[in-house]
Amino acid sequence: MIDKTVPNVEAAVAGIADGATVMIGGFGRAGQPVELIDALIAHGASDLTIVNNNAGNGDTGLAALLAAKRVRKIICSFPRQSDSWVFDGLYRAGEIELELVPQGNLAERIRAAGAGIGAFFSPTGVGTQLAEGKEAREIGGRRYVLEYPITADFALISARKGDRWGNLVFRETARNFGPIMATAAATTIAQVDEVVPLGDIDPETVVTPGLFVDRVVAVGERPWLRDDVFVGGVDLEGRALEEENR
């Protein structure tokens, strides 16, 4: 019997070595595997290269990993946010390296890694600072730059439900980078709100087929989803909800 479920988040992050490249799903807070990140902090791996769209929000999750000085370098599209004070401080102090990638190129480079594509010509970023030094080419009258895959040793992602084969479904815009990161890492670790029996997920609706997933851990209802309050998020006016609830 195939059973990719592991009993707890400690077991889920086992084997992540110092110096590893780790993709972490999420767009801001949505889809961020906070429980796995907390376990990674406790696990202790350091000198990490992190791939994420952002560079942490508030003081939890990815921001806490950064605050613990475990991250040597971050590859992302949008580090600077209203609540990215942890990253901001480290960056200004020269304590973290940043590789800035346009968001769509980040996504496509991750997908390319999972799909076995050696490199691809993208029109995004042509003629900008972020394409400097990259191979350029005109194809069919349009200009492109050559972009290479981004691979990782591990991917930590968050999904709504999973089964023991590793099939996953996501929830709303928390899907974001999870499905593509799952394809691009040597070992993919998924936290899910709920593990369901094999066969419960309609085969027509599986978003991430189990072959991309190595470990599944149930974390229960995510605490920052409770009471209709987006813990650490922003309200309708963009103010931090945490502030309001303090």
Binding site: F27, A30, S77, V101, P102, T128, T173, N176, W224, D228
Partner: protein, 216 residues
Amino acid sequence: MTTRISRDDLARRIAADIPEGSYVNLGIGAPTLVANFLPADEEIILHTENGLLGMGPAPEPGLVDPDLINAGKQAVTALPGAAYFHHADSFAMMRGGHLDVCVLGAFQVSQTGDLANWSTGAPGAIPAVGGAMDLAIGAKDVYVMTDLLTKQGESKLVAACTYPLTGVGCVSRVYTDHAVFDVADGAFVVRELFGDNTIDELRELTGLALGATEGN
């Protein structure tokens, strides 16, 4: 004194130019306001690059769902007929030219349609690009929504951008608080003047040889 229309009026003006059935991405910040003025009796489908097509308005207070946000990380809703997808699929929609309109903010727009909106190039600033470069090339029409002048009174419409570029030759139209400009054949052409603005005044404000469409 030249007329300057309000942010809301500008958003209303842009909304009026978006035909029913369009697929539209509204950039973070002021462009988001355009959604408030889309006609309630028409269907215009909003895309947010973090994985949703058919985005609806902000939820009622108390119904905030942390998994359902827009690219600005604000709470939103999903309309009947919506679809969720992952980031590679979402940016494929943009890069592949499937959106009709993107509305973006700007630091500068050049008369050849170059856009600068992601970095002022200030020393010590933390760079962050997000989806700006993808959006800049990511629609059949890229509209810019901006004040004509900076707070210091400098024109955001320029002969050539001095700020770091977001995209080259990508802007098709600029909606400002003074007037609407089309980018055509390497020049700004005044499409519509607001209030008592005149082309000559705009030429003075921008320092550019602006073209005029018939009637302006």
